[in-house]
């Protein structure tokens, strides 16, 4: 074999066309349904049938006659509140984990957080409902808020803790030796460096709580509809063209948020497989 080592490495590294084809197929599987929806959102037929007739009427309907806007706004409000609170409490907890935690307490807290995202939300949501009923809150906006907060805190905590642990502790020491109190050191040195992670965590918390259908399903009072709940009732009716328009808008906003996350420097948008808790 006379191939140079560099060439051999390149050959070995190169993927077979078969693999690349499989990648293409997989991406097709992932995106074709979404593309079809986007495509149909511009289609005039109210039943989703061909032939294709381009129109923007569904987008107009979305903002005028459809009753999707109300639930969307409610979802936005709740998710924003939950995300901001998750950012605050999650960052505080992350600082505790990094600097002040005793090994036992820290481990326990981590397990609690992991449970919030690994236990199927069907079971967790139902269990939450039981407890909310028992303490008198029952189905209510407060319950939704608490439930969503509990399931988004883990994301913020794990992202911020990972960043905290990668920060050089000497930076804090340097600030202290120059006369900064522990609080001032955190405020002026650690916090600015944590900001991208905190913002990323907040954005992810926002998206996760916006989309968390199951928790909302079990904890929402009858009559209150967030967007996922509204979509749920609509789906059981069947095809809905202005839903296509809404879906397209949501997918676009998701793309934008992902771009922002990437710009903030979060690898794989901070998801499992990339960032490990």
């Amino acid at each position: 074999m006379s191939a140079s080592p560099k060439r051999r490495l390149r050959d070995a590294e190169a993927v077979s066309p078969f693999m690349v084809a499989m990648l293409g197929l997989c991406l097709a599987i992932l995106f074709v349904p979404l593309v079809i929806i986007i495509f149909l959102s511009f289609n005039a037929s109210p039943y989703g049938t061909l032939p294709f007739e381009g129109t923007l009427k569904w987008y107009v309907a979305l903002f005028t006659t459809s009753n999707l806007l109300g639930p969307t706004l409610l979802s936005l409000e709740i998710s924003a509140l939950v995300a901001l609170n998750a950012a605050l409490f999650g960052t505080m907890a992350a600082v505790w984990l990094d600097r002040r935690a005793l090994r036992f307490g820290g481990g326990l807290f981590r397990i609690g957080l992991l449970s919030a995202i690994t236990v199927p939300w069907l079971i967790l949501g139902l269990a939450m409902l039981l407890v909310m009923n028992a303490i008198g809150l029952g189905r209510s906006l407060v319950s939704i808020y608490l439930g969503l907060l509990a399931t988004t805190l883990p994301y913020v905590v794990f992202i911020v803790v990972a960043r905290l642990q990668s920060l050089d502790h000497d930076l804090d020491h340097a600030a202290r030796s120059l006369g900064a109190s522990p609080f001032t050191s955190f405020l002026r040195i650690s916090a600015p460096l944590l900001l991208p992670s905190i913002v990323s965590g907040t954005l992810i918390a926002f998206m996760v709580s916006f989309n968390n259908f199951l928790i909302q399903y079990f904890l929402a009072p009858f009559g209150v509809q967030t967007l996922p709940l509204k979509i749920y009732t609509l789906i059981r009716v069947g095809y809905l063209p202005d839903l296509n328009a809404l879906a397209t808008i949501i997918v676009l906003v998701t793309c934008l948020l992902i771009a922002v996350l990437h710009w903030l420097g979060l690898r794989n948008a901070g998801l499992p497989g990339g960032a490990t808790p």
């Binding site: 991406l27 409490f89 919030a116 199927p120 039981l130 879906a247």
Partner: protein
């Protein structure tokens, strides 16, 4: 204790308090209550008994339902793995720029509300949709037919939902396999498929197992998917649990079923996780035996 240490001791709990309270109230206590209720068929005040569990065992329906659910989730998990494996490997060998772009693209369906995903699969699988045109042309399906409202649709949905996650987990495991290892194998005479069989697959096996577990557990708890897409034969344990807890208003029975589901999925996941270490142990036993004989 100096004033400084005192201040530090006071502020420490404040940092943790809000998050810990929320987690305790909405995660720890509910799970504990779930366990408790499952032993309290006559209401919270009454003495504990195994009534709910007996009821569960009395009818073969629930056991069968549990098996069906685990089976569905298992198939879906395996299909997801099969579909995601090659793409993950291809991704791990691509150049950084292309790779990151594709990864970001994959995040889009991951972060999209799964109801919207369900809706899009619903549209895609519907009889009028362009997707079904192809199988109809081949003669695979008659006009108006589709796999919508069958258990197969549930499986399709579960696979679709979890594909991104599986790709990420497999990718992160495969990324660690350095190209130099493959080059070394190549120089020793291993062809492409040999390299995959002897190097890539064994080294990425832990990631594969952890991916399987990560998707299997939530799949076991599926209920919206089966409710919307599964049709009359697609009922899963998740549906029954939701029913019992909300409409039938028998929290004890529902709790017992929930624990059954949870323990079932965890047990199966645990077994799968043990496959790797067990095989390794067997291989070591064989090696030492061979050495002794030699």
């Amino acid at each position: 204790m100096t004033k400084r240490r005192l201040l530090q001791a006071l502020t420490t709990p404040i940092l943790l308090l809000p998050a810990a309270l929320v987690v305790a109230l909405m995660v720890v206590i509910p799970l504990a209550v779930l366990v408790w209720y499952s032993f309290a068929p006559d209401g919270p005040g009454a003495p504990l008994s195994l009534g709910s569990y007996r009821r569960m065992v009395a009818s073969p329906l629930y056991g069968w339902l549990a098996l069906k659910t685990l089976w569905t989730a298992g198939i879906a998990a395996l299909i997801t793995t099969a579909i995601a494996w090659c793409p993950a490997w291809a991704l791990s060998r691509l150049r950084a720029r292309t790779r990151n772009l594709i990864l970001l693209a994959i995040v889009i369906p991951y972060l999209t509300s799964y109801l919207l995903l369900i809706y899009s699969i619903y549209v895609v699988l519907g009889p009028g949709s362009p997707m079904m045109a192809l199988p109809r042309l081949i003669g695979f399906a008659g006009t108006g037919a589709s796999i919508l409202y069958t258990p197969a649709a549930t499986v399709v949905m579960l696979v679709y939902e979890n594909l991104p996650l599986m790709i990420f987990v497999l990718f992160s495991g495969m990324q660690r396999i350095e190209g130099t290892l493959l080059a070394a194998a190549g120089s020793l005479g291993a062809g492409r498929w040999s390299r995959i069989r002897h190097i890539v697959f064994p080294m990425s096996a832990p990631a594969l197992v952890s991916g399987l577990v990560m998707v299997f557990v939530p799949m076991g708890g599926a209920f919206v998917e089966s409710q919307i897409l599964g049709g009359p034969n697609g009922l899963l344990l998740g549906n029954v649990i939701a029913d019992q807890m909300t409409r039938a208003d028998d929290p004890s029975f529902g709790s017992a079923l929930s624990l059954l589901l949870l323990l079932g999925t965890l047990a199966l996941s645990g077994l799968v996780s043990l496959v790797g270490p067990t095989l390794e142990w067997l291989r070591n036993e064989r090696r030492t035996r061979d050495v002794r004989l030699a």
